[in-house]
Point group: C2
Chain length 169, copies 2
């Protein structure tokens, strides 16, 4: 891969821009070697426990959930605008039903500091190790958020991932 | 105040820089009008529930905790390096014992979109409304984080605050 290590703060703008414009690709690889990825439109970046951390939310019903639970790590891959079709596909199909990577002939490479795959076509990649996880609590969430996003329940698990490496080209 | 509204992404770099260099000032004003502030060195910024959100952590033992619980809002004020003495004071003293603002003769102004005070001397201010809160779960936290930061328990409450306004000069 031709990406080089950068500071996580250097690529925040591009990351947030794509987060709000189709989404980012969250990938995780099980200890067995199996990988899956999904599209996320939500996440935060900063410092917690004196380390760079990325907070991402995954519903327990999602196939990716069991990959992160198994591996304790994930990568967040920032796509280019011309990957929009693949990003949309990953956000509307489950890895239980279809091999997302094979369908679009997407090349991947294991992370440099984690075993989870990274998406070669993505210019920015964050490699994260789960340092903490808790859950969205229905009773503590604003009512309009519950009705907008949780009409069927399935409240998110919140993963706090230490950013152990950030890479960009 | 001579601060003007900016995009929250425009001031991320300065915010993270000060977060890791002495800390930011987290303030909240109760419905009764009483205010308190504390120093935070941890927090994340991004998008959750399709809104700009800032995630901050407050230990239940902290005096500021009861202010945020009462008001459901807070401001995050990014100090200048020359405010280091005040920032350190706010991080090592409790508002239960001393009036931090009066001691340093610090001027404040209510937020534009929240009632909580903002610190006039701070060039960047985020105004936030709590959209969700949950807690750090001891059993789900890496062991070395527990021993480094929670030897006395007092696990943080996690506040997810919608950024309803960002202002900078």
């Amino acid at each position: 891969m031709d990406r080089r290590e950068v500071r996580y703060t250097d690529v925040f703008d591009e990351t947030i821009a794509m987060l709000g414009n189709g989404g980012l690709l969250l990938a995780s690889t099980k200890r067995s070697g199996e990988s899956n990825l999904m599209t996320i439109g939500w996440g935060t970046i900063g410092i917690i426990w004196s380390k760079p951390e990325m907070v991402v939310l995954v519903r327990p019903s999602r196939y990716t959930y069991e990959f992160i639970e198994d591996s304790g790590e994930f990568t967040v891959n920032v796509p280019t605008p011309d990957m929009a079709k693949f990003v949309l596909f990953c956000g509307t199909n489950s890895g239980r039903d279809v091999d997302k990577l094979a369908t679009f002939d997407i090349a991947t490479t294991p992370g440099q500091k984690v075993s989870s795959i990274t998406i070669d076509a993505c210019p920015i990649v964050y490699e994260c190790r789960v340092s903490h996880k808790n859950d969205v609590i229905p009773e503590e969430l604003l009512g309009d958020i519950v009705s907008s996003y949780y009409s069927e329940g399935d409240f998110h698990r919140v993963y706090f991932g230490e950013i152990v490496g950030t890479y960009a080209r």
